[in-house]
């Protein structure tokens, strides 16, 4: 170095190195898991992974972009129906048709964003919900895909799905279990790519811009941040990601109906619950949130509407007593950050000895 700098910038913490190592170990365990685990665990993990991806994208939108959407089910539904369309109308294999889901969600996101971005705050939230309802009603008119009652993936398509034959022989399982393993791996891949992608984004200068826009739009514009472009970026990225996830969920579910695929409870209310109790505006929050959500659901699912009321009460309690979520509470008490995005300016201790 020609010039010895007095300062340097640090972005890693000791905890983040350990977290990185634990992540890699976990990923390896998860990849190999179908060899040991039963079908029930694989299905549970599929549910956890897909909800986590939805939660990460909603968190990107609301927690980082400040765009509180109640209409993410629009993209889950569009993604799922595009996948069904690809399989039923064009005879595609369901696995590549998942990509169609991402593309379809992106395509519907562009025109709807023009409407939604004219609205602010609570109006934006309601607007996105209305858009999702309109899409549900439109899709219910699509008679080839079952109209209002819905349809199932053709048996030939599910039986001959990519790689299922190989999984059947390797793990010695039946076709349905092989499909679960395949979708589980795809969900795992989607989780890893989503978290890695969002983490990467937050650590680039666009991540800084996103935080600046969320904190103060006028000031952000005054320091050269393209606030409008940042909004578009997070809206389109989360639409595409949510669409992919929706398609994947329905490859596993096999059966689709407009009411299920565009369900505001399943794809937005639960997702908001996960992000809010876990901790909005952090990557760790949704991870913690989805685990809590899964445990609550396993414990309370038999109690019907009591279950929803308990979820609501817990949500309210967290908002009152830990507004930054449970991860926010943990992070505040311990200073722990597993995915640090802070740029810390530290005095370069070596600068004196080096010259």
């Amino acid at each position: 170095m020609s010039e010895t700098s007095l300062y340097r910038v640090q972005t890693q913490t000791r905890a983040s190195y350990s977290a990185g190592a634990v992540c890699i170990a976990l990923i390896i365990v998860f990849i190999l898991l179908p060899a040991f685990a039963g079908r029930g665990l694989i299905q549970d993990l599929f549910f956890i992974f897909t909800m986590l991806v939805l939660a990460q994208f909603w968190n990107l939108l609301a927690g980082y972009g400040g765009l509180v959407s109640v209409g993410q089910q629009a993209f889950v539904g569009m993604g799922a129906y595009a996948m069904f369309g690809g399989v039923i109308l064009w005879g595609m294999d369901p696995v590549p048709a998942i990509l169609l889901g991402g593309v379809a969600a992106l395509i519907v996101a562009i025109p709807t964003a023009f409407f939604a971005f004219r609205l602010q705050g609570a109006y934006f939230a309601i607007g996105t919900w209305v858009i999702a309802e309109v899409m549900r009603l439109l899709v219910a008119q699509w008679k080839v895909l079952g109209g209002g009652t819905g349809t199932s993936l053709p048996r030939t398509a599910t039986r001959e799905m990519w790689a299922t034959e190989w999984i059947q022989t390797t793990f010695d399982v039946r076709s349905a279990a092989a499909r679960d393993i395949l979708t589980y791996w795809l969900a795992l891949a989607l989780v890893i790519m989503t978290i890695a992608g969002i983490y990467w984004l937050l650590r680039t200068k666009r991540g800084l811009a996103l935080a600046a826009v969320r904190d103060n739009v006028e000031a952000a514009k005054s320091v050269g941040v393209d606030a409008v472009r940042m909004k578009w970026l997070v809206y389109l990225v989360s639409a595409a990601g949510t669409g992919l996830t929706g398609a994947l969920i329905y490859v596993q579910k096999v059966r689709i109906s407009p009411d299920a695929a565009f369900s505001v409870t399943d794809w937005t209310a639960y997702v908001i619950f996960i992000v809010v109790i876990g901790g909005i505006g952090t990557i760790e929050g949704p991870i913690l949130g989805v685990l809590i959500f899964f445990i609550l659901q396993s414990l309370l699912a038999d109690y019907g509407s009591w279950y929803l009321m308990v979820l609501g009460l817990i949500g309210i309690a967290v908002m009152l007593f830990a507004p930054r979520g449970l991860w926010g509470l943990i992070s505040e008490k311990t200073g722990l950050q597993l995915f640090p995005v802070r740029r810390r300016l530290v005095v370069n201790a070596q600068s004196k000895t080096e010259d």
Partner: protein, 239 residues
């Protein structure tokens, strides 16, 4: 050639004209002070220059280009930096990150290219010790300093300061004046709105007086301060 040129710029909110046919030029490297009573339209004038507000009529030229209809982000890129009258920090980012946003986006550079420069600005504005603190928790003087530091981080040719000395103690004010003088000496063009007149007149070479959105005086600070209109309107003295 002047770096900033306003010609017949007007802005109304409903029936209220806040900027009324304002024209003036600023030469490169000059420091211009703007004074006027509360509600005279000083901050609105700044918002028109930065593009946070768009003018209803007239033209604004900056650095040889017509920027009348250019959005604020591009005006920042072309070299207009500003501080806000009420500090507007990015609360959840640290002080250092506040500067990083401004430097990377305001200059279109990578984080690595600007980090040493940001550290230097933090030292210059005496903010290095709070570099890693969240900006939302800062005290008033530090917030004011952050406004200045963040504007400096965009590497502006023209720096707009909006009541940066207001509410500070004399000692704090003196320190801030030194920093601003330093910037001025390094060649940055400055337009400064201020009620703390001794701070203002120790830096600026020209003074502009605004009242009810109109320019009612422009020239040498001493002459302006002694003129009849200013004493009457601004200082409220019957002459």
């Amino acid at each position: 050639m002047s770096i900033l040129s306003l010609k017949n710029v007007s802005k109304s909110f409903g029936a209220l004209t806040v900027t009324d046919d304002v024209s003036f030029d600023v030469e490169p490297g000059q420091a211009l002070g703007i004074i006027g009573p509360n509600g005279a339209g000083k901050s609105t004038l700044f918002n028109l220059i930065t593009g946070n507000l768009m003018s209803d009529a007239g033209t604004i030229h900056f650095d040889g280009a017509d920027v009348t209809h250019v959005p604020p982000m591009q005006r920042c890129l072309s070299g207009i930096g500003r501080s806000f009258q009420i500090p507007q920090p990015f609360d959840h980012l640290t002080v250092f990150e506040n500067l990083l946003v401004a430097a990377t986006h305001g200059q279109g550079k990578s984080e690595h290219e600007v980090e040493q420069e940001c550290a230097r600005i933090l030292e210059q504005t005496e903010m290095a010790d709070v570099a890693n603190d969240p900006a939302g928790g800062l005290r008033l003087l530090q917030r004011k300093r952050l406004e200045l530091a963040r504007a400096m981080a965009t590497n502006p040719k023209l720096l707009l300061l909006d009541e940066i000395a207001g509410g500070l103690t004399d000692a704090e004010c003196t320190a801030l004046i030194e920093t601003i003088k330093g910037l001025h000496t390094s060649g940055v063009t400055i337009i400064w709105i201020e009620h703390v007149l001794h701070a203002l007149t120790s830096v600026v070479e020209r003074l502009l007086v605004l009242d009810f959105g109109k320019v009612i005086g422009l020239g040498d600070p001493d002459e302006i301060m002694n003129s009849r209109e200013v004493k009457e309107i601004y200082l409220g003295i019957e002459v």
